[in-house]
Amino acid sequence: MTDETTHAVAFTPEDLPTAKSFFKPHRIVMMLVFAAFVVAVAVFMRWDWLPRYLPRLGWGILVSLAMLFSTAILGFLLAVPIGLVQVTGPWFLKLPAKIFCTVIRGTPLLLQLWLLYYGLGSLFPQFPAIRQSFLWPYLREAWPYGVAALTISFAAYEGEVMRGAFAGVPNGELEAAKAYGMGRWTMFRRIWLPRAIHRALPTLNGETVLQLKSTPLVATVTVVDVYAVISKVRQETFLTYEPLLLLALIYMCLTGILVVAFRTFENRIPTRGA
């Protein structure tokens, strides 16, 4: 995906409102209308189930966040080599990386998740070697499949971004590093990787928000994240709107926090001019 599309699909720091522009007459009126709407929702809809489920909701949010951060970090670690070999690697590394990115980006995440969970999950028990290995207690759970699918997906999308970022680092900087007598590894560690990550950072923000938006899919393979808790509420209370509205609100808050955190992080990186 291009930067532009990631920005169109994911909420990014550029969209945060500034405090100065926030208070205009028509906005104050709109906020009052919205406040009236919120009060109406709070008063006229049923929220008596909320206290009972609060602990489970909190736990669900933690599971969602754990899914997000673990898969984003693992996926990024995979994305660096995937992007790098596509820029400098020999053809026997370049080709598989390219095919990996195309296949993962060309199929829905839900299908990949179900392929891993139902497909591999039904295959593993047939091999006694796997049943007796130390991994078996984990492979019987659902979350490793969720983590695997989300990691693979993030690695594919971010690998494409890193490819562009590695290719976009000006050649002069790499030549300067060579002229200083840096070895290949030192040059990669000191110049190429930091510069590429810096270039990829705005897109990385967007991709992380997109990853947050993908996490509820793991609920379809029985991982109990915040989405699964809300589904449970809906089954037990027969309410349609209230739990879903709360869920949307929770995700909006999580996105907002994530975006603000990214902006503070990005502002701390010193840049010279543009």
């Binding site: 296949v103 928000v209 349609t240």
Partner: protein, 241 residues
């Protein structure tokens, strides 16, 4: 044994004992929803982009809320909300004007849901593309005395196309993949059909890989057409990108 279920190609045959026909029907449903949703989204996006750029302050803020909410909330949650709330609200409105409740087909609901989500995305893409059109071109059109609709039809829309196509083609690919999420609300598109076929025959890997191949084929074929479209829209443009 695993090897047997992996190579039992008969399960994919098109006639009754095989599930190939069912899979293709699901694939057809997916494409229908993707096309419908993308088209609806494009219509919403054109309106949204012009509203955001040229509308009054209230309209602009309302559209900002729309795009913000859609971009901050997971598609899966939006699909559930719109699917249940949308059908429910429609029936309540129909009850108010004294028409009995209608049974909304899954196809229409799916197109509506995907369309609303895509509408927010294409609003953002088109807004960026319209802003990339040099202001002088639009001013020149106004100086010739063209009415706003004529400026839109003759200048803004054609001139923004080369800037919009990369973003829009990505949105099309996202639309084809988002149709899979409708499996969660029980619409029998490719992913759900695949899961049913796999669950019945226990040949999970075979069916999920087959469905993956179908999705991938759709993406690759789309990419070919997108490339052709992009070359066509970029003709006459200086090649600096």
């Amino acid at each position: 044994m695993a090897a047997d279920s992996l190579v039992n190609w008969g399960l994919l045959s098109l006639s009754a004992p095989g599930w190939g026909g069912v899979l293709l029907q699901g694939f057809f449903n997916s494409i229908q929803i993707a096309v419908g949703g993308f088209t609806l989204g494009l219509a919403l996006g054109v309106g949204g982009a012009f509203g955001k750029l040229y509308g009054g302050p209230v309209l602009r803020d309302l559209l900002e809320c729309y795009t913000t909410v859609v971009r901050a909330v997971p598609e899966l949650v939006l699909i559930l909300l719109l699917y249940y709330a949308g059908t429910d609200l429609l029936n309540q409105v129909l009850a108010l004007v004294a028409i009995g409740p209608v049974d909304i087909s899954g196809l229409m609901a799916g197109i509506f849901v995907i369309g609303v989500v895509q509408g927010a995305y294409s609003t953002e893409v088109l807004r960026g593309a319209i802003k990339a059109v040099p202001a002088g071109q639009i001013e020149a059109a106004r100086a010739y005395g063209m009415s706003p609709t004529m400026v839109l039809r003759r200048i803004t829309l054609p001139a923004m196309l080369p800037y919009a196509i990369p973003g829009l083609s990505n949105l099309w690919l996202i639309a084809t993949k988002d149709t899979a999420l409708l499996a969660v609300v029980g619409f029998s598109e490719l992913t759900l059909v695949t899961r049913q076929a796999a669950g019945t025959t226990k040949a999970y890997l075979l069916f999920f890989l087959a469905a993956g191949a179908l999705y991938l084929a759709l993406t690759l074929v789309s990419n070919v057409f997108i490339g052709m479209l992009e070359r066509h829209a970029r003709r006459g443009l200086a090649v600096n990108r």
